[in-house]
Symmetry: C2
Subunit: 386 residues, 2 copies
């Protein structure tokens, strides 16, 4: 029996439904951010973040900072690249555009390699682009929350290392960390930017960034000082190292309750092999995608290899728009998200299937959602005389 | 009967003890950040923030952003001042030094007007400094958490308006908002930077910045673009305006649970006249300071007009250092903070007396703390043969 108040099931691509214990951690009593109890919990949380990324290389460093996922773009843009240096943005829509704007704010010269809606840049195109200029960073949206497009960051990292070995491989993993396979060390990634509220299953409010030794080196051996204060890797690095070594340290007050919640969810997630977690997400995704096809709908990302496993963006049947269907879902206790990609927004809806909604055997959120979707579509079609 | 687990009473200058209802709000079930329920709560929270600052001028704008209080310095430094412009920092210690570093990170030319430990810059010195150069901003630490020094921001703002009327008056109110009187419009302030976890009584994780119309104008009519993305006033302004007008809006995912908690505490705080709240803090502070004197101790801030009302920094009796006394307090269920000002750190301790610890008539935190302090001091003196 859940301890949460009755509510509609939140199945958007983040924030997601929470485990009871995670939410209870949010109500932790007041603690000093430098007292032994909290220092231990924060230090363990940093170590658990390494496990989340399947990383054992001590030169890699997780950062856990009060902020939204967006703050991670500032951490990358203000620390890993200097004014006038080149950045290649693999652009699959909304989030590539915004990451590009963030990079430009800090003085980077940004080149966008854009893919058509629902697709991703081909490896040959990426290789070709990398040969045109020396790029300090390449950024990839691992899962584009606006379209459900999945990028193959493992293969892209291989291409980068072959063609332009010094380019830092930066992954926007806000909508992928915890649901899509990531082997940070093995794939030789340099930075993965994420947030607490998606497949990690913690309430929003934490910016989480995993950096390689190569990225830390780039941030700390800059020709010019980092161009941000709160988003400065140099300012946070000793803090993260100290907490992980069980020493209190102060740069800015950490969000103690959110850190407790992150500790709880990461303890749950890493209690089993990560491969198992990814397989559960793949299985749930396959089930959702089969059901969507059975309902006569296509996905915004049509190619199977480009489809995320923690969400599905589906075009509505001809003649229907999102406001015809979302209220019917809500009436049945299910919340999906409207479209976000501005060129196609009214024509599609987004279903987030990650975290406890698919991993907790006591929940039947996916079955409930698919049944509600079927009924809401039929009702909407009838109302429109389709 | 509190719903919180039994714990030692946290009486540091933030984070502070929480009201049960505030902590319960932290466990709010998952919600979409753009769904009507949350949009209403966030919008109301922005409006309640105006009340907290006793502001009715519609051109003023509160910002509530996921982050620590430190992020507010970046908001000021990246938006209100441009590269090469002058900033005058009224420096009473640790936080003035850090705010200065933040301003320099974004290219400001910083002049520190330093006061001796425990004192504050005199009005004549401030007037003299303002006449030396055109300053774009002046920053004042309202209450210096490291020493308990209170600045008279009302009079300083008057001096600025008389001598250098275009200088933006920026207040670091992290340790003052909610415990010290602030009349934002009436005192003609331009920016007050604060955080959720001190006298506001919400868990840490929210950066709260109140800007005047003049500050918004400076931020949006810059000669050069703002030099931050996440900390950009231009990026957040339409979001705050939309939420307050009950319209969903997206720049970065707000920390929904923390916003609920802030809504709860601000509803409680603003349910009574702010003047009453400030008077309660003054009365509690007077009681603490009298007791400290009776125990033979002096304050780091010796002048009564320079003493904060939400905290007391006290020098320990000759021969004792913080590690002699803090464990004795902890043994009696009370947590004070060690010294923070590096030149005097071991010689003093800090007692935070703000929020529910002094305003909730069902709590007796101050009595408990003063009794524990008396016993811990006696015990420490005995152990040292003093």
């Amino acid at each position: 029996m859940s301890t949460q108040a009755p509510h509609n099931t939140l199945l958007i691509p983040g924030p997601i439904e929470f485990d009871d214990a995670v939410l209870q951690s949010m109500s932790h009593y007041a603690e000093s951010h430098v007292a032994p109890g909290f220092v231990k919990v924060f230090g363990e949380t940093i170590t658990l973040t390494r496990k989340l990324f399947q990383s054992t290389n001590p030169s890699a460093q997780p950062f856990i900072i009060a902020g939204s996922g967006t703050l991670g773009w500032d951490l990358v843009s203000a620390n890993l690249i200097e004014k006038g240096e080149n950045a290649l943005v693999l652009n699959t829509g909304y989030f590539g555009d915004s990451f590009g704007k963030c990079l430009e704010t800090y003085g980077a010269q940004v080149t966008h390699l854009r893919a058509p809606i629902g697709d991703r840049p081909a490896f040959e195109e990426i290789e070709h682009a990398l040969k045109q200029k020396p790029y300090k960073v390449i950024t990839i949206t691992h899962v584009d929350t606006s379209t459900g497009v999945l990028n193959d960051i493992k293969t892209i990292a291989q291409v980068v290392r072959r063609v332009s070995p010094n380019t830092l491989v930066v992954v926007d993993g806000v909508c992928s960390v915890g649901s899509e396979e990531i082997a940070f060390d093995e794939w030789d990634l340099d930075a993965v930017v994420t947030a607490s509220q998606k497949a990690i299953g913690c309430p929003p409010g934490l910016s989480i960034v995993m950096c390689s030794g190569r990225a830390i080196q780039a941030a700390t051996a800059r020709k010019t000082p980092a161009s941000a204060y709160y988003a400065s890797i140099a300012n946070w690095l000793p803090i993260m190292q100290n907490y992980e070594n069980n020493k209190p340290s102060y740069f800015a007050t950490p969000p103690t309750q959110l850190v407790h919640a992150l500790h709880t969810t990461l303890s749950q997630i890493t209690a089993r092999p990560m491969a198992e977690r990814f397989a559960i997400h793949v299985a749930a995704s396959d089930r959702v995608k089969a059901a969507v096809a059975e309902l006569g709908m296509t996905q915004v990302a049509p190619k199977p290899e480009c489809q995320a496993h923690g969400m599905t963006a589906m075009y509505l049947p001809q003649g229907l728009v999102a406001p015809d269907v979302l209220p019917g879902l809500l009436k049945r206790g299910v919340i999906f998200a409207a479209g976000l990609h501005k060129e196609i927004a009214p024509k599609y809806i987004r279903f987030g299937h990650m975290g406890v909604s698919i991993s907790d055997p006591n929940r039947n959120d996916v079955d409930k959602a698919l049944a509600a979707l079927k009924e809401a579509l039929a009702e909407a079609k009838q109302a429109k005389g389709l």
